[in-house]
Amino acid sequence: MATAYQDRKIPVAPLNAGDAPFFEGAAAGKLMVKYCNDCKQYHHYPRPMCPFCYSTHTEWRQARGTGVVYSFSISRATGPIPYAIAYVTLDEGPTIMTNIVETDLDTIQCGQKVTVVFKPTEDPKLAVPMFKPA
């Protein structure tokens, strides 16, 4: 069995204050993650206040863009085409929701090494990070 990857139209939800660097970074080819200068940990999804130590001394940092598949599922009934939602654990630490792309979806596995690619959204100024096999 094989389920070929196909590009799909990526919607965006209305951004909240502080969210833009993630999406604008992706549009510029950068995976941006929030880092806390007090407890020295990355977190995701990004907040101005660190969810671990509640410090406001957080900053955006560019992640390497490599990680492993924590889990995934291929949506076959949502339509119009199959797609693979996933959680990828970045080498920097946090696990982020994403899609696995540009591969036979039936070959995806937990623990698989992946690398970031950036996919355009329906908003030309915003992109999102997705991952393909490394």
């Binding site: 990526i10 919607p11 990355y42 889990s71 291929i74 630490g93």
Partner: protein
């Protein structure tokens, strides 16, 4: 303060309809379910002094209190998806124990919605911009929990299927159940793959419907005719993405369960019947591990050999057929979990599935998504 012995389930009602269309308004469905539970208790709307609702009340709590023309001294609206109604039973018991009301009415009434479309949940939700582009829907989020549980513990699709199969053995005796055919492992595995590794039959049914529960003080309970069902322990919690330290292999039951067991002063071995929220087969497998019915990672093995089937296995569950086969009113199965546990304790379940000497029962709700955020609430009840 403890709720132990300070509140009883006085009345229950499950609406028999599974498909209502435009025949009845949502408010009237709440009213009919409420009336049914009050009549079951032998009480009337005039006796109600506390009203408790979730997210399915058109116009909110005040609109429903107005519609029912209630005069109350306690109000609570708590919305944690399908688990809401177990939280509300706990909150009603707490309010009664604190003397804030003595007849608490909890109602659910809603219409089913297929969960396959990716929905924009509205503005201002902090996590939504970071999830919505990736196509999260209820089933693929639960599927990611199942996928990880399989990877980490070797759980199989055949094992998950046993949850559906066991529920179908119970549902065959329920004339109102949507699925009454006794299903085989092959029936589940041969059903279409919706979101790997979950098949269509790993999912609960989608139905309209509703139900209601009346929680009363010990003084009121003494005046009622039905067998007395006493609340002895309640626990609640939630579980989420933990700032990115995601672990999909356990649920909030790891916290709500021990709180409820400690208050009740009982252990999993004392539970004769369990209503376990069954949105998907994986929900049951993870929950029974987290409540301590088996070790972490062994839920897949535990559900085999008919262990969930009444009269056969170690932990009879969802003897009404559960969300798997009976109903899931408006995508929310919490209230029916409470209702079937009360039937078991009263000895009112169908004779073919009634657990013998059922003196202590548990009901557990999981609402939201195992894959992102969910509510967890555990109730332990005793027949007096």
């Amino acid at each position: 303060m403890t709720i132990k012995g300070k509140a009883y389930i006085g009345g229950i009602f499950e609406h028999p309809a599974r498909k209502l269309g435009n025949d009845i308004s949502q408010a009237e469905l709440h009213a009919q379910c409420s009336k049914g539970a009050l009549e079951d208790a032998g009480l009337s709307f005039k006796d109600v002094d506390g009203y408790f609702g979730a997210g399915d009340i058109p116009g909110g709590l005040l609109s429903m209190v107005d519609y029912l023309n209630l005069t109350v001294r306690h109000l609570d609206q708590t919305y944690t998806g399908g688990s809401s109604y177990l939280y509300l039973v706990a909150h009603a018991a707490e309010a009664i124990a604190a003397g804030k009301c003595s007849v608490a009415l909890i109602s659910l009434a809603d219409f089913g919605r297929r969960g396959t479309a990716v929905r924009d949940r509205g503005e201002g939700i902090a996590e939504q911009p970071f999830e919505y582009p990736f196509g999260p829907v209820t089933v693929n989020l639960y599927a990611m929990a199942a996928q990880r549980h399989m990877y980490q513990y070797g759980t199989t699709s055949e094992q998950l299927a046993q949850v559906k199969v066991a529920a179908s053995h119970h549902a065959q005796w329920n004339p109102n159940a949507v699925i009454r055919k006794v299903l085989t492992t092959e029936d589940v595995l041969n059903s279409p793959m919706v979101a790997d590794p979950l098949h269509r039959m790993d999912c609960c049914v989608v139905t309209d419907g509703g139900g209601a529960v009346v929680v009363v003080s010990p003084e009121i309970a003494r005046q009622l005719k039905k067998p007395k069902v006493k609340l002895i322990g309640v626990g609640e919690s939630s579980k989420d993405q933990m700032g990115g330290k995601i672990d999909l292999t356990y649920t909030g039951a790891v916290r709500s369960g021990p709180i409820a067991f400690a208050e009740a002063g009982v252990t999993p071995a004392d539970i004769k019947y369990a209503s376990i929220y069954d949105s998907f087969t994986i929900t049951v497998v993870e929950t029974i591990e987290d409540l301590g019915f088996c070790k972490k990672g062994e839920g897949g093995k535990f559900v085999c050999d008919g262990n969930l089937v009444s009269g056969v296995g170690k932990l009879p569950f969802n003897t009404d057929g559960g969300g798997m086969c009976n109903n899931h009113p408006g995508n929310k199965g919490g209230i029916t979990k409470v209702i079937e546990a009360v039937r078991q304790l009263r000895g009112e379940s169908h004779p073919k599935v009634q657990v013998k000497n059922c003196d202590i029962a548990l009901a557990h709700g999981t609402g939201g998504s195992l894959g992102t955020r969910h509510g967890s609430a555990t109730l332990i009840m005793e027949r007096e």
